[in-house]
Each structure stands twice: as C-alpha cells, then as structure tokens.
C-alpha cells in the first residue's frame, strides 16, 4: 500500500519518468547486481510452484508437463502424511519458541546479575558457541552419545546394569532429544539479543526502585521483564510467523535419516525433501511445498499485523 502511495507521489511530481530514471541511474547500477540475484534466485524459482498443479515429466520440463489441477493436493491430503507433518512441525516449533524465550530471558537476566562481569562474558561466549556448529557436526556429537554399539549412553546404561536403548529407533525419546539439541544450539544466540536490550535499560528506573525499597526480585519482575517485553513480543511473534518452517538440519541430520523415527521426526521440510530426492515424487513434494509456502506466508503477514498493532516500531513492514 505504501508503494502505491509512493508511485502516485512520484507521478505527481512534474519530473518525467525518464528524468527520474536518469538521475537515479548511478544508484540503480549499484543495486543492480543484488537485484539480478534476487530475481534469478528468489523470484524465478516461484515459477517452479506451477509444478504443484502438474504431473512432472523430466523431458517436458516445468512448463511443458501435463496440467492435472489439484490432483497432487488431493493425494497429499488423502494420506495421513499431511496431518502428521503439519502437527509435528507446529508442535515442535511451538515448544521451541516457548522454551527459547523463557530460557533465553532467564539466562540473560542471570548473566546480567552475576557479580563477576568477566566471568559472565566468558559464559556468554561459550553458550553462543554451539550456534556456529553445523547440524552435520552436531549429528556426529549426538552419535557419539547415542550410537547403539559404542555410544556413551549405552555404555553408561550397561555399566549401571540397565538395559541398553536402541536410540535411533526409539521413537518416544526423540521429542526430548530434538528439543534438547535445538535449545542447546540456539539459546545462547537468543540470550545475546536479550542481553543487549538489558544493558539498554536506563539505570534511573533501578535507582528509583532502590529508593522505594524494592527487592532485587521485585526489580526484575517490575522493571527488567517489562522493559524486555517489546523485544520478547517481537521475537516470539516473528518466530510464530515462521512456525510452518522447520529447521531441516535438526530434523534430518540429528536422527541420521533413520526410517523408524519418521513418525516423531518427520516435518514438512523433511517430507518435501524426501519426496523430492528419495522417492522422486515431484508432484507430491511440490504440493506439500506450496502448502507450506502459502500457509507460511499467511502466518508471517498475520504475525506482522499483530506486531504492528502492539509495537508499531518493531514490525517488519
């Protein structure tokens, strides 16, 4: 909407299109490389969404393949797959969002209160480190713990006289494992974001509270958390906007693509990948992909509208 207004303003000016174009040419040239990349790799692929309505045939290509209407979607939603992957994606992401905000805010406040500031800095640095490891690397770390023959956990279990666990087919344990590693990898990063807004809180509030005789706990409850609230709201709502997109690496690499675990680890992203690369069902994969894109889009836009109502300054658009 803002764009339309802008274009109207421009035509309202007496300058012709050509004049404007010529005047802004040097800057346009600087934007051009990025624009080309955006168009080639972000907009052109949207043409691939057509495949959701086609029966793909390699020889006929994307545009030549036969049009089949909503058949792919019919097949997708007839199976229980659609329900399972939607449920898994939303439940996992919902849990991650909740735990992330609670833990990150708690850790940030804790680090901020530590008496030894140097030590707090060291903690922060170490907590953030897992964020920079790839999921493939993390999957090997997890493997050193969960491997059936050699894993640390199974050796500990047998040492304690307990039965060993076949971790890579124990479906019930994976919601916990996945949640743990997700938090393990990302909580330090979120903590940094909250820490930076913690240091921005004016000391005046605390001084006034001390004069009024507020305890530390009361200060945290009535000053720190309310001051962090805008940041929390924005990050949570933006995360809710992306609730339909799972972290592919977490769900694909960590369980090592183990078949028996699919009921607990299959999310939309892994489903699409497997349909595309492993079973070669392009129609089904692209139907699930378009389903994700469309619902994801609605959620992101919706989330932003909500943010704009609550915290206009923090909305993405």
């Amino acid at each position: 909407m803002a764009n339309k207004k802008n274009i109207k303003c421009m035509s309202g000016d007496k300058k012709s299109f050509f004049e404007t174009f010529k005047k802004s040419l040097p800057l346009t040239l600087m934007a051009l490389p990025a624009l080309i990349v955006i168009i080639l790799f972000k907009y052109l692929p949207l043409a691939g969404l057509l495949l959701a309505f086609k029966r793909f045939n390699v020889r006929q290509g994307i545009f030549g393949s036969m049009f089949v209407g909503f058949d792919n979607f019919k097949f997708l939603f007839q199976t229980s797959d659609a329900w399972v992957i939607t449920r898994n994606t939303i439940l996992y992401n919902g849990l991650f969002i909740l735990l992330d905000v609670v833990l990150a805010v708690s850790i940030a406040i804790g680090l901020n209160e530590l008496l030894n500031k140097r030590r707090a800095k060291i903690y922060q640095t170490i907590f953030m480190a897992p964020y920079f490891l790839s999921w493939v690397v993390v999957s090997f770390m997890a493997y050193s713990l969960f491997s059936v023959d050699n894993g640390l956990f199974n050796h500990l279990l047998s040492f304690l006289g307990l039965p060993e666990v076949n971790w890579y087919s124990a479906t019930g344990k994976w919601p916990f494992i996945l949640t743990f590693f997700q938090i393990w990898k990302t909580v330090g990063y979120s903590t940094v974001m909250y820490l930076s807004s913690l240091t921005a809180i004016s000391n005046d509030y605390y001084e006034a509270a001390i004069i009024d005789g507020a305890t530390k706990w009361q200060q945290i409850k009535n000053i720190t958390i309310p001051c962090l609230k805008p940041m929390m709201i924005v990050l949570v709502i933006l995360a809710i906007g992306r609730i339909f997109y799972a972290d592919f690496g977490l769900f694909y690499q960590l369980p090592r693509d183990s078949g028996p675990l699919y009921p607990a680890t299959q999310v939309i992203d892994t489903y699409v990948y497997r349909a595309l690369k492993e079973t070669g069902n392009v129609g089904m994969a692209s139907a699930a992909g378009l389903y994700q894109s469309v619902v994801g889009f609605i959620l992101v836009v919706g989330a932003n509208l909500v943010v704009r109502k609550i915290e206009p300054d923090s909305a993405l658009f």
């Binding site: 764009n3 802008n6 404007t20 174009f21 040097p26 800057l27 600087m30 934007a31 490389p33 990025a34 624009l35 990349v37 955006i38 790799f41 972000k42 052109l44 692929p45 949207l46 043409a47 691939g48 969404l49 850790i107 804790g110 680090l111 530590l114 008496l115 640095t125 170490i126 907590f127 953030m128 480190a129 920079f132 490891l133 790839s134 493939v136 690397v137 090997f140 770390m141 050193s144 713990l145 050699n150 640390l152 930076s196 001084e207 001390i210 200060q219 990050l235 592919f248 690496g249 699409v272 392009v282 994969a285 692209s286 992909g289 994700q292 894109s293 994801g296 889009f297 992101v300 923090s314």
Partner: protein, 312 residues
C-alpha cells in the same frame, strides 16, 4: 550530575548500588547452574575430539569414552594417506567460502546502501521486492527444479555459491547501520563532485566497518557450514564440500576408500580402516577452523547484534 551533588552523594549512591547486588549465595547458585550448562556445551565436542584420538581397539572395548584405554593417531593418518578426497573437498569449501563471501558482501553492501538512501527514487519498490522474499518463497522443490532445469545449477559449484548470496535480513541490518551515518557527509561528498560509487566505497563503507564485519562473519560461517546445498545439488561426490562429505560418512567410510587412487593400498587399508575414530576425526577437521576462529569473531556478533536491531 554526580559532580554536581559532590563526592558525598556519589559515595552514598555507590553504596546503594552495592546493596542492590545479588547475594553471595544467589551468585553461587547462578555460577553453579551456568557451570553445568558450560559443561553441556563443551563435553559433546570434547568427546568427539577424544574419540578421534582413540584406537579402534579401545573403541571396540569401551565404546566412545572420555577415557580411552589406548590413544592413537590412526584416524588422522588414514586421512592423510588416502585423503585426496579430503583435500579436494577442503579446496571446494575454501573456494566457495572465500569467493561466496566476497561476492555476497559486495552485492549486499551496495544494495543495502542504495536502500538506505531515502532520496533514491526506487527505494520503496526495491525494498518491497527484497522484503517480499522474507515473506514468501518457493520452497525446496520449486528452487531445486528451477535451478537445475532452467538455470543449469545441477551438479555445479555455482549452486553452492549463488542461491545463498543474498539474505534480506542482512540487507536490513546493514541498511539500518548506514542510516546512522549523517546525510550531510554524503551531501558534502556530492558537492565536492564525488560520484555515487566513490562516495560509497571511500566514505560510507569505511565508516560502516563494524556492520560490514559482522555481516561478513555471518556470511562466512554460513558458507563454511553449508551442507544442504551440496547435498541437494551436487551429484558427483568428488565435488562435495567438506560438510556434505561429512554427512555422506554418516553410514560408512566406503566412499573415502573408493576415491583412493591406489587400488592395492585401498584393499590393504579397507581391512583395517579406522571407521569409528575416522568419522570423528573428520568431524574434528571440519569444525576445527570454526573453533580456532571463534574467539576472534564472536565479539563481532555481539557488537553487530546490538547495532543492527531487528528493524530498519
């Protein structure tokens, strides 16, 4: 302010702050909790490192253990003797990371600058074009089909570089950063007859070093850590970047052995290849550069996150 009140008032104020600090006991509990989380962050990685230096016999007896009965360099020797694939993959990753980061930074930095200029006529429409990519994207299938069928990226190193060369979020962070530079400086340069490109490269970019460094680091890590594009687009395993190579080792070291030139040496090695420690050794080799660089780059992240903010 405190000077105005004089020394006495300031001391009293400091006493108040001291009272406001948490108790020694609470501090101890916090340190204990954080200490545990530090161990949880570090121990899995330490285990991988120790296993990579354990002998196969020791792993056979004790499993993956923090205290192997026998240390050994077999896993690393294996890679150095038969590791032409490792060298090739490292080469590909280094090329992709260096070239990709330079290319990505070049286009992102210029684009963000143009968008930060409120006097630019197409500002709004290009900002929208960029923001829209954050809201709606084709997903894996659409990208894969178009990139392989139309753009010819299938099994090509280009597939590892260009699809991730622009990130709308980084553009927003940089744009915010540029906006903090006073417009007067840019105006002054223009009056002195400085071209737009020169204004950017000689005045704006040097002033934006902290922001550029942060985004550069993020991009660098993203390229180094990428296994997904390699897994999706690269068919010929010889062209795998290291992360994808590591992924392909999840089940066996077979491929590493096959890629060896010397068939005789292969058959000899195949019998007693250090499979278990070998995988962990490769994990260590993949993660080592990140770990070595981490102490230097982590401060940029903290700074950059503080500077950029969420919104422009």
């Amino acid at each position: 302010m405190s000077r105005f009140f004089g020394r006495k008032a300031k001391d009293e104020f400091n006493d108040d702050l001291k009272i406001n600090k948490i108790s020694k006991k609470a501090n101890g509990i916090l340190n204990g909790l954080f200490g545990i989380w530090v161990l949880i962050c570090i121990l899995p990685l330490l285990l991988v490192v120790i296993v990579s230096f354990s002998s196969e016999q020791s792993i056979f007896e004790n499993g993956y253990s923090f205290f192997p009965s026998e240390w050994s360099l077999d896993a690393y020797n294996f890679f150095f003797r038969l590791g032409d694939q490792l060298v090739r993959s490292y080469g590909i990753t280094i090329f992709v990371t260096v070239f990709g980061t330079l290319f990505s930074m070049f286009i992102t930095a210029m684009f963000a600058y143009v968008l930060s200029r409120s006097d630019y006529a197409y500002n709004k429409i290009f900002t929208f074009l960029m923001l829209f990519t954050m809201l709606f994207n084709g997903g894996i299938v659409a990208n894969y089909m178009v990139n392989t069928q139309i753009l010819g990226l299938g099994d090509s190193i280009n597939a590892l570089i260009f699809p991730m060369s622009i990130n709308a979020f980084y553009v927003i962070v940089l744009r915010t950063f540029y906006k903090s530079i006073p417009m007067e400086i840019i105006e002054a340069a223009r009056i002195d007859g400085c071209s737009e490109a020169r204004t950017f490269f000689q005045i704006v970019a040097p002033l934006s070093k902290p922001g550029l460094a942060t985004i550069g680091m993020f991009t660098l890590i993203a390229y180094w850590n990428d296994w997904f594009l390699g897994m999706l687009y690269i068919v010929d395993q010889k062209k795998y970047p290291v992360q994808t190579l590591l992924w392909s080792m999840q089940n066996s070291l077979e491929f590493m052995k096959q890629s060896s030139v010397n068939a005789l040496e292969y058959s000899e090695m195949a019998k007693n290849a250090p499979t278990d420690s070998g995988r962990m050794a490769l994990t260590v080799l993949v993660v080592l550069p990140i770990l070595l660089a981490y102490p230097y780059f982590q401060k940029y992240f903290v700074k950059g996150l503080t500077v950029g903010g969420v919104k422009g």
